[in-house]
Each structure stands twice: as C-alpha cells, then as structure tokens.
Symmetry: C2
Subunit: 292 residues, 2 copies
C-alpha cells in the first residue's frame, strides 16, 4: 500500500508491503500551502512507479487541502477512524484515494480542539503501546497533548508553542535583543527558561524577563533564543504533562530530544518514538478496513 | 514648572503653577522612536513660550533616548527618586533639564524587571493614595503591576499583554480568522475570553481556542479580537491581581475601563485614576527636590 502524510509544509510518501514494512519512502517538495491547489500533480510525481491502495492523512483533508474531511469527536479508536475514511475515484486517474478524517474534542466540552494528521500518528502509537493509559506529546508549531486509554484517544489539547516562538522571535521586542536562531544550542539557557516557567507570574510576565536578562547582560544575545524556547516549552510541559508517568514523544528527533531534556529536568520520564508513525498508523487503518 | 512625559510613541507636556495645577498642556507629534534623535528640536517646539524648571520622565531616559539614566532598585519612594534625578545644562540652550531615573526590581531577586515612566505615574498615585498597602495596574503594551506600601514602591512585574495582542493579531494564524480590530467592541466575547483564562490548560492552549471557536462558527470573525483580548487580559489579571483588595488602574480611559470590566467580572474591585498622573508625579518630585 501507499501511505501519504501531507501537512501544511511537508509531504511524505511511504511504500509498504503486506506486513507493513517500509519498502521505500520519498519526500515531496510541496506541503499543501506551497502546492497551490495542484494536489493531483504533486501526488502523481511523488508516487510514480508505486502501486497499491492509497491512504492520505494530514492537512490535505482540511478546508485548505484537497477534499475537506469531517472531524470525528473523541473518544475515537482505530476502528472508528478506519470506518470514517472516505474514498474518491475521481481525483487521480486509475487510483482510489482514501482520506483519514480529523479528530475533535467534541463541541459539547466548552472550547473545541482539533487535530489533523496527528490522529494517524496516534493510531500508529496505539498499535505500538497496546492497552493501558498513556500520555503522548507531539511537539511542533501547534503541539498536541493526547490522552490514550486502552486503545482509545480519549482527549487532547493543542498548545501553540512553536508558533509563539516564531512570532515572538521575529515580530516582538524580544527578538530585537537576540542573535542566532538556534533554539536548541545553549542547554544552560534553555534549562534556565524551563526553571523559570515553574515560578509564579505567568507566561506573559516570564517572556518580558527574556528582555531584562538581555538588558542587564545576564544572558548573552546568543543565549536568549534558547531561554525563550525553554520558557515556552517549560510552560507547555507544566500545564500538560500531568501525573501520568512517562510521556510518549512523537516528532522530529531534534525537537523531541529538547522536550525529553526539559521533561527530565522536571523529573518526568519520557520515551521517544520514530517520526514516521504516520506510516504505521495508515497501515493499521488500511488493515482495519481490509484494504490490505 | 514644566513636566514632560516622553515615551516610545508619545510626547506630552504640562505647564504647572506653583501649587501643581495644570495651566496648559500640549501633545507633541513624536515619541522617541519617531523623533530619530532630534530631541532638542522636538522639546523646544513643544515648550515654546513656557518657563520654569523642566523635568522629564519616560523612555526619553532609556538607552534609545536622549541621555541614559540609571535604574534605582526597589524599594523606592518619592524622596529617593527625587534625589536620584540628574540635571543637564548642555542639552537645550538656556534651560536646565532634570531627568527622572527608571526603577528596577533589583538584580538579586532572580530575573530583574524594569520600568521607565511608570515610576513617575506611581509617585503621583502615591501622593493621591497616602499610606497603606495598594496594588496598582498600569495597562498597556507592557502592563506594569506595582505593589505600594506606605509610600514606597516595593516591587512590580511587567506583563506583555498589549504586545502579545498585537503580534498575535498581525502575525499569527489566529489573526487570519479575525475581522475588525476593535478589541473593546464585543463585550460578550471579551468576557468569554476572561472566563476561559481562569480555566486550566495555560495561555498558549487557550490561544488556540480562539482559532477553533472561529473554525466551528462558535464565534464570529468580528468577535474573535475581543475574545483574544479577554484571554490575554484575563490571564494577566489572574496571575497578578492577588488578594490585595481594590486594584488602582492608571491608563487611557478606554483601556482602563476594559480592565475594570474584567476585574469586576472576576469579583475584584477597581478604581480608575486620571491618565495624567505623570504630571502630578513630576510636580511631587520637583517639590521634593525644592525646585518649585
């Protein structure tokens, strides 16, 4: 089968054999934003020479994607997601495309929350973890914190850590004192930020401290980006890691390792999982639907 | 005397008589940013025809201002600030200019915090309030929360509420769903945001809710800016109003009234003070130094 993980700024394809082993993988150049609506063209190029049932997940199923898919409310499991997949024969000549829906926390619980793409990575994680209660964190522009219980995704929350970092770095007064945008580089400054996040005063007050520490030469201009990253990730962790034991981290190794470092600093265990859980998840969904 | 309140983006002058009554007031067109270093020119124009001792406070005494002034560490009172004023005879022909220093929380207490200009407004507030313990909030781009005890400014904290609102509105994914930048307009949406800020999950998670409420058509695009404002101000209040009774608000009437509304919604009393407390404060400092 062919598994496609198509996000806002990335496109990844995997060719899997009948037991789910990855035979081949390719990266496309265009996420859905850069694609500018030429989805058929982008996908054709990516999967040239590959055959088999074709499953897609991620922002490709959003309003700005190819065909908008519904959000399934929590709790959901692999079976429910597989049953809710919709197929299209008219998008790519000679191919049937299966789209995975997004997931919402449901509108009845106050402010709703949504994910697209992460639900498929979580299906892959659930296949790996089996039963029991687990907390998963998928760090990124909009980090997701998911509660998993006995194979079900029971709830989740989005935290805008990555986007806040980017807009504050580029557009706020904080960025003006900073040099070198390598947030992971200065471990001491990063952990100072994590420590600070556990103190009273709130995020918006702590952020101003990144300015005064620079003004008073207490942190070098090159250390301030790491401090800012530590503040934002620290607040995310303090608000969301809960008391559920180890946190399962799914994301790019460099970012996941930074979260693991901050969690360890706070006395919380974590376990890193491979970034390509989307392929594992799409395979589990295909098998559940008896497409493979 | 002449009292000058010169900030990053505003310039205000007051002519006061010997008992502190405002005889005349003028607004200049240029804050220190727009002034581009031509401070003497800007000031000459503003005070044309006015005579008397000349006191200045605000960002004009910062590194990017006219002559950089020190920060006095807390606790400080009117006497200490008056004694720390420095005079210059060489900046404007025939005039002596007195600069008020800034105030810091002191470097010994973890992350330092700073103010410039607000200390002078607080001197004016202290003159009005007299002895006792008070909490003051000066809302703005960088809001200040000050603790006052028996005529002393004992500590304070900066919260980046106004700047966060601006960068999120203009540069984040949240702004894309929003219409009409009149944060004060939709009172219901504003108070929904204030309510939300008291719930668990943290600011960065609550911010994402401004997107999902828009996606699910639960809030109109025109209501979302007010909701965002309510979230940010609500978090500021929850983190800083403490249990000190009424909050003394000093700022522009429209902004101070929005804070008063949010505080009332949270069951906290507040009292609004006139925006031109800087003139009152500069007069108190001049009298303390026996310049008037």
């Amino acid at each position: 089968m062919i598994a496609i993980d198509w996000g806002t700024s990335s496109l990844r394809g995997y060719l899997l054999n009948a037991d789910g082993t990855v035979l081949d993988q390719r990266r496309g150049s265009d996420g859905i934003l850069a694609c500018q609506g030429r989805f058929a063209e982008g996908l054709s190029k990516l999967i040239e020479g590959w055959d088999g049932p074709l499953l897609l997940s991620g922002m490709i199923g959003s309003r700005n994607g190819w065909v908008e898919q519904a959000y399934l409310p929590c709790p959901v499991d692999t079976t429910a997601l597989a049953q809710a997949m919709r197929s299209y024969n008219d998008l790519l000549p000679g191919r049937t495309l299966w789209f995975v829906p997004g997931v919402s926390t449901g509108e009845q619980h106050g402010v709703p929350d949504v994910m697209r793409g992460e639900e498929t990575q979580l299906v892959g994680l659930i296949a790996a973890l089996g039963d029991g209660e687990h907390v998963a964190c998928l760090p990124g522009t909009h980090s997701k914190w998911a509660q998993i219980a006995n194979g079900q995704l029971t709830g989740f929350a989005t935290v805008m850590t990555g986007e806040l970092y980017a807009v504050l770095r580029q557009h706020s007064i904080l960025g003006k004192l900073m040099q070198d945008d390598h947030a992971a580089r200065d471990t001491d400054a990063f952990l100072l930020g994590v420590d600070r996040s556990a103190e009273p005063g709130g995020l918006s007050h702590h952020l101003f401290g990144a300015r005064t520490l620079g003004l008073f030469d207490r942190l070098a201009a090159t250390a301030l980006p790491s401090y800012l990253s530590g503040l934002l990730i620290g607040h995310e962790l303090c608000d969301h890691h809960g008391d559920h034991g180890a946190v399962h981290l799914v994301g790019s190794p460099s970012l996941a390792q930074r979260y693991a470092l901050a969690l360890a600093h706070l006395g919380v265990k974590s376990q890193l999982h491979p970034e390509d859980l989307a392929a594992t998840g799409l395979f589990a969904l295909a098998r559940q639907r008896e497409l493979v």
